[in-house]
């Protein structure tokens, strides 16, 4: 009796395990097909022609430099913010953490709308204007939009990276005569190397792929504030599939590279 019972129980566990794996595979299969379609549907000549078009070259260039600039700015802020949230206790920490994280759950369009209202004809907008920053419907606006969209992701990765670094490493460094700042530079930053890499690639992928926020704040103007997602959107509205698919492929390649590097760093999001 006992052995029969055991067999039955083991069978049940197996069915549970197998069905969970099955569910995971189904979704993976659908995604693989969807991604595959992006590469299978267009013919290569069409993609090649689109890549060489003036609009695509403009869009690629604009995406690259805004993306790189935004990523650099994001990291300049994500490092100190991530470290602060990981190490320090202060009044209002919960509030700071919630607000910085908010854009993760925020629709990009709403974020764009908020930024448009802030940088429009308001007190804050005027201050920035007097400093030479004009964010509404400009390429500077693209950078601002990408920055705010990608920042929370980078901050989260940096916080969890610093969480994993034993504060006692820093204690030892300070006991050996190094100040907090020197310890941060000598110990915390080098040990956070993988996290910084992960954070940078994810930030870059988010920047390159930001659509809603850019559309609302910088506008989706042809050959002016046209980054890759905007190219995709504009061309699909004109029914120009070649151009749309090409920008889709470029964006997909960037994302794949980012996720590949991210996975290799073994950092948690």
């Amino acid at each position: 009796m006992q052995s029969l019972k055991d067999k039955h129980r083991a069978g049940k566990t197996n069915a549970f395990k197998v069905s969970l794996i099955f569910v995971s595979f189904i979704i993976t299969a659908v995604l693989v097909l969807a991604i595959g379609a992006l590469f299978m549907v267009p013919d290569i000549k069409d993609v090649w022609e689109s890549l060489k078009s003036e609009e695509m070259i403009f869009s690629l260039k604009l995406s690259m430099w805004t993306g790189l600039l935004s990523t650099a700015l994001v990291m300049v802020f994500a490092l100190p913010i991530g470290y602060t949230l990981s190490r320090f206790q202060f009044i209002g920490k919960g509030f700071v953490k919630t607000i910085i994280d908010l854009p993760v759950a925020f629709p990009e369009l709403v974020l764009g709308l908020c930024l448009l209202l802030l940088f429009g004809n308001t007190f804050v907008g005027n201050i920035f204007k007097s400093l030479g920053f004009q964010f509404v419907f400009t390429t500077q606006g693209i950078v601002a939009a990408q920055f705010f969209t990608a920042l929370p992701y980078a901050c989260r990765i940096m916080k969890s990276t610093f969480d994993y670094i034993d504060p006692r490493m820093e204690f030892v460094s300070r006991s050996l005569g190094y100040s907090m700042f020197e310890t941060f530079m000598n110990v915390s930053l080098p040990l956070a190397r993988n996290g910084i890499l992960a954070s940078t690639v994810i930030a870059f992928a988010r920047c390159i792929g930001t659509f809603g926020t850019v559309l609302i704040l910088a506008g989706g103007t042809y050959m002016k504030t046209e980054v890759l997602p905007i190219t995709l959107y504009l061309n699909i509205s004109y029914g120009n599939m070649g151009m749309a698919l090409t920008s889709g492929i470029v964006l997909m390649v960037v994302s794949f590279a980012a996720i590949y590097i991210f996975e290799r760093t073994e950092v948690s999001l």
């Binding site: 034993d166 490493m169 204690f171 300070r174 006991s175 050996l176 005569g177 100040s179």
Partner: protein, 356 residues
């Protein structure tokens, strides 16, 4: 004034806290701190080194108030259980790290000196992750000692090492700190660390310093049942009924114990006896008045490898005796037997004659 003086230290980190800790250490003292998990031992070390600011109280090092001083200004070293070596540096760079900041002159010689003293010279070019636990701990020790800190704090430095490595590392540590006359505070769970390394012991419980003193005082004259239990001694209470030829005669719940320690007739006293100071026999020893012979029932035998711990009960009092398994076998003892516990009167110590 003392080399280190801690007065009325209070700190509350929620889970861990210290409550009115005060003590003094002299230059060259080696203090082991023992106590249950979560008693506040680590916080005490980390308050001394400056990672936490106390809510109340002061720390004086060489007559200077360092309570509010930054950790990097205190010149106190720390060694952790998990070594906390910088994984992106080689062993050499780890040891060099502190020297580079504090005293870059003659760095190479100093590093090689300490490395050869701790037998890690052949490892200098390696990364910490490729070393064994004992090797990593020796590197951590070298890193802390090479800058010649005023004090060295160690938080369970040997608990991740196997017994053999632990013994070897202990010997190296003992030599290294003795040569430099380093003042050490060493948190441990292993009483062997206290016996072999320290000249002072402190017992901490729930953020309170229960007792601090020389090894002799704490291990042989524990003040409270808690400390006695923690250091493995037995505490009994009795009344002094006579003084006889330099011995105090004490009635402990019906049996008589004699001690060399002086006490006034009629006072209530606490007596401490260590389990290794008692001999068990099946016959009372014919020997002199300097020997106590206590008739007791063998209540329980606990095998502990090479030795056994016997629980004896005499009336309402019970106490532990440490015997080798060899003598246990020779005596042919079994639970329930009547035995005689023989204790020299010099090994019975009056802990505190102010029992209320």
């Amino acid at each position: 004034m003392s080399f280190l003086s801690v007065s009325d230290l209070h700190i509350d980190l929620g889970e861990f806290y210290l409550n009115g800790v005060s003590f003094n250490l002299d230059k060259g003292d080696y203090l082991t701190i023992i106590g249950p998990t979560g008693a506040g031992k680590t916080i005490l070390l980390e308050s001394l080194i400056g990672f936490w600011t106390p809510d109340q109280g002061n720390i004086y090092l060489e007559n200077r108030d360092i309570t509010m001083e930054l950790p990097e200004k205190r010149n106190i070293g720390i060694v952790y259980q998990d070594y906390a070596l910088l994984s992106h540096f080689t062993v050499y760079k780890n040891i060099e790290y502190g020297l580079k900041k504090k005293n870059p002159k003659g760095m190479k010689e100093k590093i090689h000196d300490i490395a050869s003293a701790l037998y890690i010279e052949h490892l200098l070019h390696r990364k910490p992750a490729t070393l064994s636990g004992g090797e990593q701990q020796r590197v951590a020790l070298a890193r802390a000692l090479v800058v010649e800190p005023k004090m060295l704090l160690m938080d369970e430095p040997f608990s991740a090492l196997d017994p053999q490595t632990r013994r070897d590392t202990r010997a190296l540590l003992k030599k290294a700190v003795a040569q430099r006359n380093t003042t050490v505070m060493h948190v441990t769970h292993d009483l062997c660390d206290a016996w072999t390394l320290a000249n002072k012991v402190a017992v901490i419980r729930d953020g309170h310093l229960m007792q601090i003193g020389s090894i002799e005082e704490v291990f042989k004259r524990p003040q409270t049942p808690f400390v006695a239990g923690f250091v493995g001694a037995t505490l009994m209470e009795g009344t002094v009924i006579d003084r006889d030829k330099g011995l105090s005669v004490i009635n402990v719940n019906g049996f008589i114990v004699k001690t060399l320690d002086p006490a006034d007739i009629g006072t209530k006293v606490k007596l401490a006896v260590r389990p290794e100071d008692i001999i068990v026999g099946t016959q009372p020893s014919p020997n002199t008045s300097a020997q106590n012979n206590i008739e007791a029932i063998l209540a329980h035998i606990m095998y502990e490898g090479k030795t056994s711990l016997l629980s004896l009960s005499a009336g309402k009092t019970s106490f532990d005796v440490l015997v080798t398994n060899h003598s246990l076998e020779r005596l042919g003892l079994a639970t329930g037997d009547t035995v005689y516990a023989m204790i020299k009167s010099s090994n019975v110590r009056i802990v505190n004659s102010r029992v209320n």
